[in-house]
């Protein structure tokens, strides 16, 4: 019962705001955005019906958003328009698009248990293509690119000269860091890779090196964590600023 009352209160507030004429066309969207923002923030108190309502609206909107996007960005330009054109001009190459169209429709065979296995053909075409593309992408984009990027001089040119010049000064600490830059990048990558080498037990020398690899990984995880926290806090500030500025007009 409580949840119906809470949902009713929110709807009543919205109706009141519209009926009282306070909302111009431009601010109606701001009100909607503010209400939905507050509904999501209400989870900080505890899981509640208003939050659940907003959460489900969000899921529905996300799903609907991607359907519309796929329709206009993929179906219409890549399938629908070329197919219509090929029907008009009777072009055999264009009619080949009936194959992916049929394979796409076969995916829906999953809803019918007796013919569900037919969807495997579409899945196989999709998975096979993307597996091939993933191999190429991982090879060119990650593996070779990262190895190439790590092929650097062990000591960056000029770093030792910079260290001598900065001796005793305020910049000495950063001059040391600059000297350590390339060695740490090279060694850090190697020890991290050693940690991921599971074909031999990590004991003795291998164990010691892999332990240093773990240290590098921990530094990376810590940096990623700090970075993520700051990006989330930045989003939070953005939402609070929206509420205070765009909605309530308290700050300008």
């Amino acid at each position: 019962m409580t949840k119906y009352i809470l949902i009713g209160v929110v709807i009543a507030l919205m109706v009141f705001a519209v009926a009282s004429g306070r909302l111009s066309g431009a601010s109606f969207g701001t009100w909607i955005a503010a209400m939905l923002t507050l509904a999501i923030f209400s989870f900080l108190y505890k899981d509640n019906p208003i939050y659940k309502f907003a959460e489900h609206i969000f899921i529905g909107l996300s799903a609907g958003y991607f359907v519309a996007l796929e329709y206009w960005n993929v179906f219409v330009p890549n399938l629908w328009n070329p197919l219509l054109e090929s029907f008009r001009t009777v072009s055999p190459s264009g009619l080949m698009l009936l194959v992916p169209f049929a394979l796409g429709l076969l995916l829906f065979a999953r809803f019918f248990p007796k013919i569900a296995w037919l969807s495997r053909w579409s899945m196989a075409a999709m998975i096979g293509s993307y597996a091939g593309l993933a191999i190429i992408g991982a090879l060119q984009g990650d593996l070779l690119a990262q190895i190439r990027a790590n092929m650097i001089p062990f000591l960056s040119p000029g770093s030792l000269t910079g260290l001598k010049a900065a001796a005793g000064g305020n910049a000495f600490f950063f001059a040391i860091l600059e000297v350590l830059r390339n060695p740490l990048i090279v060694i850090g990558l190697l020890v991290t890779l050693v940690y991921f080498f599971f074909s031999r037990e990590h004991k003795g020398g291998l164990g010691a090196v892999s332990r240093v690899g773990v240290w590098f990984l921990m530094i990376s995880f810590g940096a990623s964590f700090g970075y993520t926290v700051m990006s989330r806090v930045s989003l939070l500030i953005g939402r609070l600023h929206f509420l205070m500025s765009d909605w309530l007009g308290i700050i300008h």
Binding site: I32, A33, L36, F43, K52, I57, F58, I59, L61, S62, A63, G64, Y65, V67, E70, Y71, W72, V74, P100, F101, L103, G104, R110, F111, R120, A124, A125, M126, I127, G128, A131, G132, I135, I136, D142, L143, Q146, A149, N150, R181, L184, I185, G188, T192, F216, I219, S220, F221, G222, A223, S224, F225, G226, T228, V229, R232, L235, L236, G238, R239
Partner: protein, 206 residues
Amino acid sequence: MRTEIPVAIAFVAGMLMVVSLFVPHPFIAEPAAVMRSWAIIITAFAYVLGVANIARISLHTVKKRTTDWQYKGALVVALVAMAGVGVSRGIQTGGLFDWAYLNMYVPMQATMFSLLAFFIASAAYRAFRARSVEATLLLVVAVVVMLGRVPVGEKLWPGLPAFTEWIMEVPNMAAKRGIMIGAALGAISTGLKMILGIERSYLGSD
């Protein structure tokens, strides 16, 4: 028929992609390009299949009046409204779809992610204990990176932002590269297993 044909399709599609990297001749490159465009179309259908499945399950819940059916009803209404408006009236800037995107989707997405600021902080409070060298490194670097990206960090020590950048560019990048190389090797081996029909879990069970 139920297993062999899909495995053969995956092999042909996958090999076309891989071979087209090494053989740029039109004999290979053109079918590979066609296969790529087909994959994009089939993937779009897969998106719609996923959404249709959400709608189907939600409608089933509404029909049966099981727990939280009201929320599932709201989900379906939002889904149909957003997809319906987008498909029927277009997704151009300034339209109704764009309005719903800017005033409903974007604020809720940003707020959802901003909620993580609270949970990530409380999780860190419980999980971060300087009990070992590894845990201490994690804790110290996280604190340094956080402080290095706010004005108060620079007030504490003017060199902190530069030191934070150095952490991001040197030890962090070294480990990230190791992870990326490992993940790339994993992706290549998994991709090969799928193309060669060794990994068939995507086919589901009979």
